[in-house]
Subunit: 371 residues, 4 copies
């Protein structure tokens, strides 16, 4: 399969560079009959967009989605759905200075070594601009998951630098520019980001995504495990350096008696596993977290080499996010939703449409919800 | 692609259950002409095997590999290499009691919900016995990587419970049953494991794998990224709940000025990135770590339900590892080696056989080596 | 996907050489719960086997199938089903003379050019021995198709050399060693083959496969079309040089008014299309035919070159079929059945389990059945 | 892999409906550094286009290709190349009458049965309009094959109805609107087509494609055979009902002594095999032929049913080709070129960049060239 395509039955192929004429995607394998209109993409694309607050890059893209195919009279036909977004606010001249240099911590050098040619404008293909189309594609997946299975996929910013949420409330997440789950901390975060931006430095972040309503049985052992596919899907997001399912790296220090989620007829007692055992969903909340590195595009100078191998000092002057994790929440949600829909179709293929296997154990307590 | 196959050009299909007649794999896409003999599998299979020390499961398998195809007069022919290992020490009666119960923290319930049928003997397909064939397949990958590119893949146990290495020396790793990189701590670990085994409980662990000599340019953006594929390959190992590349989750609290690996003509100054930028290798050490949960197969009883939905108390009496992480080092190495070889072939397909792109920056300091 | 694997959701990976220790396959993606026993493979493997009549190769293989995995207490579990057949009657010394020569019309030269190494014993991987495992895998597909959808897949020999059937009766096909649909011609065919065998020459053949009961809707446009996948599956059979769907090459001289299959509420009026339109089944009989070349392994000498490029005269003394088409009927059925089951699962994935779309047009007249 | 994508390493994903806003494709896996400009697509798209002579559909499309990604400063970068063509001459009202009817011989009924919804305008996704993008994608493949390996791919119309070429001259093929290889017959064909068009009927055709310069060794046994992949690629073209390699169905009546292509140090003596043995190229011309059915969109009425199952009489009034085979030559070339480039990359992946295996036998006589 092509390396710009992911998903086995619901497959998404993305294309486009940061400063090229357009970015787009082809979503193939969507069941027929789903209602779909161009307006439906706006909400999640706006959640992902730059330029909405002073805490993200100043680039302002309309991100208007044109549906090129696969929809007839407002419903999907089962044929490939092509989505197109024109780039309108690219400032390629910002990159003229660094076209012949390799920014430390960027894909500049590795792309160059692989291909012997690279599009330096805005990072070209390696830019997070590409994630626009993941979010667009996932609008379809989220809708289908909700309509067909009652599954919802939500995310939040779980840490930024050293700052962790002091409380948790889903209803707060969409009411601040950080997707932060604890409203009282928002002013603190605003100050934190302002200071960071002024310093010219950047910082890392942690994002958590939760899927509610996933029925037991999704996921294909051994190499198509639900957690395995979440791992590659999430790791493919720009700047991600780690992926956790459930308790993640905390399990290293746990005892088995603590970790195992006990089962009772009225529900699981806990969810250390993050809703996945043996690569297959258990019916509990599916919980995944990612670590995003601090962006390497800094105003602060640093030593590097140019394409001739000479040492130079590089300064990045383009428009960049001081914390790429801030906008990563809808992107991470998108990848989780796309993986889930793909697995749902794969499960239906092998095991049939409707699960009727007993006993079915209730999910038990969910993250941030009344227990 | 089938869910029991991984790899795009070097593909590995595994089959077999823990207590079935045999386990095996088919390795397809291997270049022709590689010398290969059945004896070469013994070393890594013994590193992975149970029953060698009191700290792992007591099951003793000969793990004798039969080469069924793909090798002629001692060399690979380019056709699929099938490897077979007969199961010889299965004690299925240990599982009679739990055949109708769902062990908390195990794949029992999720397999049952997916398929409506499961082989309870030794965990069936969900058993870590399957990883034997990953290790066998990777013997081929390790050899090819070494011969063709001078790449070596090594791992070690980086944490067990709360215990972290107090020092680091590659030469210590293979001289103790834990793959522990600091010899003076081995007695402490022995005591720790003895106490744990007596308690009937289990504990988690962390394993790190390092690949030296990986040239820059391996990895396919966007959805075939080297780190993305490492993530799914490693997450597919039994009990893994988290994957990190380079600094992993530590990046959450890092600043960009700290994280970015500065570049000089005589080498990278650091390797926070773990040797991968934009999904493509940089020529530095490739570093990946995993978190392994404490096994859920405990002698200590716990509440669960049976297949009729009735509450029961379960006790696992089969032979199990109190810390599955101990034997995970060769398995994690295997997955890294298989991903690397696959990516090497993919890179050759698109970009040609020999990298000659300049400038090529030296790797810089490696983990645990003189800087 | 590996080149020794086919099928997207029901995937079959085969391995093994003609004179290696064993041949085998891994069938992945089979729905759970299907009853399956080792004895069920015998019937179709015997239909394909050599050594049953004087008209095929004298090699006598037991073709005993061992189920290595994927079946528990007589039912499939949804995990990969590995099947193994040991080679028992290989006479490799027959090939010593030709190990360093390229037989004209054989894969000897092309394998050598690709890999620089080849297993000359019995043709190695290029031998039709490999098709044993396709037939074995298809036993599972045929059973599932019959049980789940009432689909049956049958084939017959439609031409041998210049001889065409003088009549058609399904009930005759299994009562002669040629799968010939017209009993009165069997003595003529016996004489024809006896004379051919004495002459040392070989002859081509045509085989037709018919699938009854295929519901409308199977097949994925554009590049996963049912006819497209039948074409590659059938072309992959040894010696096949052509594939036709329905009227096949006869359409070149047809007019549209003749070719189009008119539709009436009580059924299609004809089936020139072979049951497939736009790559999707129509509910009519699916009809595919293949052309098999005369085998190139002849006792009659012919000029060629050796591995040093010197001209030599080659004579093939091993045991060979004077008409490989005779045994090709069960092999062609196998490939059709495997493609159909794969497409059935793919259709279920995207479009759901049960077709309820109206109007559904009856199939109309079938090949060789009362109209 | 998605069903609208083909190719393993050079993969092409197409999207778009006949009367939708646009059609397009994403070409992934192309080696970096290939020069590519939008103008280069015009030549082959014009060869495929309708509306150039009275013998094809009257629809006139500009078929202007926009390169959306993957090319920087005139060279491919190794990232996905997206190509877009806007539809400009769609007349959807022509289809209002037949939107609720199933045209006999068309994909109308089968799409309806699969999806329960279909875009009737111009045939929607099942229209040959889609092949525009195959031809566009293949412009890249043809160029790379020529530059890198000196491979050329050419086709011609080998039969139309009962009319066969009375001679053969490559230089004639591009000088008439039929791709006919024998100039003196062109007036006869003009009259034939005029009469056919007046009658309201249509006719079938045969197209042959020849690839010169293919080195030995391309093709992957067993299920990725070069001929197997040519078969599915060619069968996926609209209206194709049969595929032949080399002598194709003529082999049924051939003897082995006739069919086998004898080998001498100075070249193969003949090419009955069509340049492929055991699924791998031999270094001879690769020759493939297809049968195209007469289009079913006729002005002449015929009985069918409507979406309510009632019998109706259908008349197709849209713009259609009386012989779809006339424009199929560049489409068939495209599919052959795309398969060859994909196999070239796959061969390089497994077996290395440069073939140096001896002895290499010259190709011998080519079709229509001096022997």
């Amino acid at each position: 399969m092509s390396s710009n395509t992911f998903g086995k039955l619901l497959s998404v192929t993305t294309f486009g560079e940061s400063h090229g004429p357009a970015i787009g995607c082809v979503v193939d394998g969507c069941p027929p009959g789903l209602e779909l209109a161009a307006e439906e993409f706006a909400h999640d694309l706006q959640r992902r967009a730059t330029g909405k607050s002073r805490h993200t890059s100043a680039r302002r893209e309309a991100d208007e989605v044109e549906i090129l195919s696969g929809v007839y009279e407002g419903r999907t036909t089962g044929t490939p759905i092509a989505l197109l977004v024109r780039n309108t606010d690219a400032r390629s001249k910002d990159y003229a200075d660094i076209a012949a240099q390799f920014r430390p911590g960027h894909a500049d050098y590795s792309y160059w070594q692989k291909y012997g040619i690279r599009d330096p404008r805005g990072g070209g293909r390696s830019s997070a601009r590409e994630t626009t189309m993941r979010v667009a594609a996932a609008v379809i997946a989220k809708k289908w998951l909700q309509q067909r299975h009652g599954v919802s996929v939500r995310g939040f910013l779980a840490q930024i630098g050293e700052v962790k949420p002091g409380g948790f409330d889903w209803s707060a997440v969409e009411d601040n520019p950080f997707f932060w789950p604890h409203a009282p901390q928002v002013p603190e975060l605003e100050s934190y980001m302002d200071a960071l931006r002024k310093s010219g430095d950047s910082v890392g972040a942690r994002v958590t995504v939760v899927a509610d309503g996933v029925p037991p049985g999704w996921g294909e052992p051994i190499y198509g495990k639900l957690d395995g596919e979440l791992a590659s899907a999430l790791m493919s997001i720009n700047a991600v350096k780690g992926v956790e399912i459930g308790d993640g790296f905390d399990v290293v220090a746990q005892k088995g008696t603590h970790h195992r989620d006990l089962i009772a007829p009225d529900g699981f007692a806990s969810n250390h596993a993050g809703g996945i055992l043996g690569g297959i969903s258990t019916g509990q909340q599916v919980v995944a977290s990612i670590a995003l590195k601090p962006t390497s595009s800094l105003r602060l100078p640093g030593p590097t080499v140019d394409v001739n191998g000479n040492p130079v000092e590089v300064v990045t002057t383009g428009r960049h996010d001081p914390c790429v994790g801030i906008r990563a929440t809808p992107i991470a949600e998108a990848m989780v939703a796309l993986v889930l829909m793909d697995q749902a179709l794969r499960h239906r293929a092998q095991c049939g449409d409707v699960g009727t296997i007993t006993p079915r154990i209730p999910a038990g307590p969910g993250l941030g919800e009344a227990e």
